[in-house]
């Protein structure tokens, strides 16, 4: 919105985005949108989804540990991939 006080004029330029842009914008969108409760609920939904990610990881590990079979390969995968992942995160952050 461009407001021209001297001419008592406001110019509103509306640009529509594609579905992919909307989806990208919704990732991590956690703000109130004035006049739209429908959109504002998204912040709560994002919060719920964040904890769903945590729950998926923790419950997945719990269910795996309850099984006797596939325990050894599971330990190898979780230890190996976990160590590589943490090393990558540290290296990329500290060294680039």
């Amino acid at each position: 919105v461009d407001v021209h006080l001297d001419r008592k004029l406001a110019v509103v330029k509306e640009t529509r985005t594609s579905a992919w842009d909307v989806i990208a914008g919704l990732h991590g969108f956690h703000a109130e949108m004035p006049g739209s409760r429908w959109v504002s609920i998204w912040a709560w939904y994002t919060e719920l989804c964040t904890f769903a990610v945590l729950f998926a990881g923790v419950s997945g590990v719990y269910l795996w540990t309850r099984r006797r079979r596939e325990r050894r390969i599971g330990y190898v995968l979780i230890a190996g991939a976990g160590a590589i992942s943490l090393a990558l995160m540290l290296y990329v952050t500290l060294h680039g």
């Binding site: 989806i23 959109v39 990610v53 995968l77 995160m89 990329v92 952050t93």
Partner: protein, 200 residues
């Protein structure tokens, strides 16, 4: 091996492999949506600015070649990103050397032989937020391995959802609540996308 067992194995093994990245996504994502709770922008050190000589550089005066030269000569660490022409300043060539928590903005004047390097460092919340957003190959093989893990974690999230729904459908005796939750979440998400695309 039945289809059910194959999908169960894919679900389990892919989950264990990307568990650390999934937890990183949770921690960094939570910090991002509640940044003020984690200090906001406080505690960031002031930007450090230094000017270096480019005397002796004989290559082309274009961003990619300059970035490669500056990274090598001044031992900068990170992935080079070059802003598009419309975001380049009028009087200089600009590129950034980026890694989570550290951005080194380099400006080379069109008519000069110097490089001004502005180093901006983030606080812990900023480091996590940038770790969450790392993308794009081309920053060396370790960087590329990190991005590959990030891509695998992202793809696995889709795979988890699909294989999880399949496993639930095959095993659950009562599906009513699951169908209700799944339908409501899909409807709300699709509705949001359509609303933001078409609502006046």
């Amino acid at each position: 091996m039945t289809m059910y067992h194959a999908i169960r194995k894919i679900h389990l093994y892919s989950g264990l492999v990307i568990l650390a990245f999934l937890m990183m996504y949770f921690v960094s994502g939570y910090v991002m949506i509640h940044r003020p709770w984690f200090g906001g922008q406080a505690g960031k050190p002031p930007a450090a600015v230094r000017t270096e000589s480019l005397a002796g550089y004989t290559g082309p005066r274009e961003p990619a070649a300059l970035a490669a030269y500056v990274v090598d000569r001044f031992n900068l660490h990170g992935r080079a990103t070059i802003p598009p022409p419309q975001r380049q300043p009028a009087k200089s060539i600009r590129f950034n050397i980026v890694r989570p928590g550290t951005i080194q903005q380099v400006d080379v004047p069109h008519d000069g032989d110097t490089a001004t390097i502005t180093t901006t460092r983030e606080n812990l919340a900023g480091v996590l937020a940038q770790l969450h957003r790392v993308h794009g190959y081309g920053g060396g093989w370790i960087w590329n391995a990190f991005v590959l893990f990030n891509d695998l974690a992202s793809a696995s999230c889709i795979l988890f959802a699909l294989s999880g729904v399949y496993l639930w459908w095959r095993t659950a005796k009562r599906k009513a609540w699951g169908v209700l939750c799944l339908s409501a979440s899909c409807a709300y998400t699709i509705g949001m996308v359509l609303y933001l695309m078409y609502a006046r």
